[in-house]
């Protein structure tokens, strides 16, 4: 795991912070969960990266929401090591896809993926929290993509 990805995961986790229960099953009582929240930050980032790389503007609207939601669901079913592996691979794929896009296209696609992520998260969480977290995922995800490309 690169340092950039670690920092991005933690930044998203900071945004989730005490709102963690918005993203966990109703019956769960979670406390003192730094590592688990950081991992969840990584899952949301993976969904963002896959949204950029694999759709690259091809999926829109509800189809994109379903795609992003599906990625989150799938990744959360994996163990921590697999989740981190998916995160690394997806960030590389997103950086590669970014090379084919103009800055304007990247801005438009990343905004669409952010919006889809917010909607997917809001299916189980408060809308405002979902939007806030999705915005942070996009900001941190774009930082990683740009740094991956520069490297």
């Amino acid at each position: 795991m690169t340092e950039n990805l670690d920092q991005a995961k933690l930044a998203v986790a900071s945004e989730i912070g005490p709102d963690i229960a918005e993203f966990t099953p109703s019956g769960d009582k979670n406390f003192l969960v730094p590592a688990a929240v950081a991992l969840l930050g990584g899952v949301f980032l993976t969904a963002f990266f896959k949204g950029i790389a694999e759709t690259a503007g091809k999926k829109v609207g509800e189809a994109l929401v379903d795609f992003v939601g599906g990625v989150i669901h799938d990744i959360r079913g994996k163990n921590a090591s697999e989740q981190n592996h998916e995160l690394e691979n997806s960030s590389k794929a997103a950086a590669a896809a970014r090379a084919e896009l103009s800055p304007e296209q990247l801005a438009a696609i990343s905004a669409a993926v952010e919006s889809a992520l917010a909607k997917a998260l809001a299916k189980g969480a408060d809308e405002d929290v979902a939007s806030r977290v999705a915005a942070r995922v996009r900001a941190e995800g774009l930082k990683v993509i740009r740094e991956e490309r520069a490297a």
């Binding site: 900071s14 912070g17 005490p18 963690i20 009582k29 406390f31 730094p34 969480a125």
Partner: protein
């Protein structure tokens, strides 16, 4: 009392926790902390399973330092491996500790100030406190119903401001009392906003003292009555407004920059704001719990409410834990430990581990506000 006095700060930290929910909840938390602290050091390390003697549920203190409560023991965990946290009758009650501090603070029991403070704490902790307050509110409110909706709303606004402000600080009301009043106020405003001239009936019953042993129960009855009148949507809006108020208050607490140069007093300001956020989460939680008692609730609404209730409860638990941490760290032992831990990671080049500790104590557990990151990372100053 001089707020700079370490003893006064210590009293304020304990009192803040004592009134957050109610004295019973505070006493439980206080006893649990002491009981856990009484376990041998080797049993207080990550990786253990616990249960409190005589209580339901299990707590997993995970190897990564996180923890999770389980109502039943998961498959694969040997019941023989579960450590029992014993009941410990020798721990003084929080009430005794608080009143003892007050006596020590003023150094004379004949001081009118300390006498009044002890009297307020005694009344607050008495079994009759909640119903006395409910009768008082009911009596005051009932007289205003005839004067009209504006008079009722104005009364609720003012009563809430008084309770959430001086009432809490002077131990005249509990956080649960405030939460009940907050809900009544929010729902009453929503009902009045409908302008369908039917609110008088609801308000009259809202202030009926019969059958409700507390202000929180008055709020619960109001919510039930609203659903019975087909005003469930207005209740939902009111609870959401309270919950958003909690989120906003929490955000303000975290964004608030220190305006003084006394680290302890600046943190006190943060914990005070955290307490206010916690009471809003408590109010939202109680609102959802009250609405969940309504039998006509749709399955979809029920699932959403259960989810939201769980989310706000978790935030309330974090606030409660942070306020207890403030008590435990009055001597800054834990702060020094955290700084040493972070410094150690930085020295070894393990910056990700240092960041994880900062994330844990600032963003996840709310022990410190974000501006405190610099203090935690600064290992040079004392």
């Amino acid at each position: 009392m001089n707020p700079w006095d370490p003893q006064a700060r210590a009293y304020a930290a304990l009192q803040r926790y004592y009134v957050l929910i109610d004295p019973g909840s505070a006493e439980n938390g206080w006893q649990e902390e002491h009981r856990f602290a009484a376990l041998p050091q080797a049993q207080r390390t990550p990786g253990h399973w616990y249960r409190n003697a005589g209580e339901a549920g299990f707590i997993h203190y995970k190897p990564d330092g996180s923890g999770q409560f389980h109502e039943t023991l998961p498959a694969g965990v040997d019941p023989n491996d579960v450590l029992v946290i014993p009941a410990n009758a020798r721990v003084p009650s929080m009430f005794d500790y608080l009143t003892g501090m007050l006596r020590g603070l003023v150094r004379t029991e004949t001081s009118p100030e300390v006498k009044a403070m002890i009297a307020d704490l005694t009344e607050l902790s008495s079994p009759g406190h909640a119903s006395r307050l409910a009768r008082e509110v009911a009596g005051e409110g009932a007289e205003l119903v005839r004067a009209g909706t504006d008079a009722v709303l104005s009364y609720l606004d003012q009563r809430l401001a008084r309770m959430a402000g001086t009432g809490l600080v002077s131990s005249k009301v509990t956080g649960f009392d405030v939460a009940g009043m907050m809900l009544m106020n929010a729902v009453a405003h929503q009902v009045a906003a409908a302008k369908d001239a039917q609110e008088t009936t609801l308000f009259r019953r809202m202030f009926d003292p019969s059958g409700v042993p507390s202000v929180a129960e008055m709020a619960a009855r109001l919510i039930h009555d609203c659903f019975a009148q087909g005003r469930g949507e207005q209740v939902g809006i009111a609870i959401k407004a309270v919950r958003k108020g909690g989120d906003g208050t929490l955000q303000l607490a975290r964004e608030q920059r220190p305006d003084g140069e006394h680290r302890g007093l600046d943190l006190d300001g943060y914990y005070d704001a955290l307490q206010q956020a916690g009471i809003r989460f408590l109010a939202a939680w109680w609102g959802h719990q009250s609405a969940l008692q309504v039998s006509t609730l749709s399955e979809s609404d029920r699932a959403t409410m259960e989810k939201t209730a769980n989310a706000v409860e978790e935030k309330l638990i974090r606030v409660k834990t942070a306020l207890m941490y403030a008590i435990k760290d009055l001597d800054e032992t834990r702060l020094r430990e955290k700084r040493a831990l972070i410094g150690d990671f930085v020295a070894k080049g393990q910056l990700d581990q240092a960041d994880l500790v900062l994330f844990d104590v600032i963003d996840s557990q709310l022990f410190y506000p974000p501006w405190f990151r610099a203090v935690l990372k600064d290992t040079a100053s004392p």
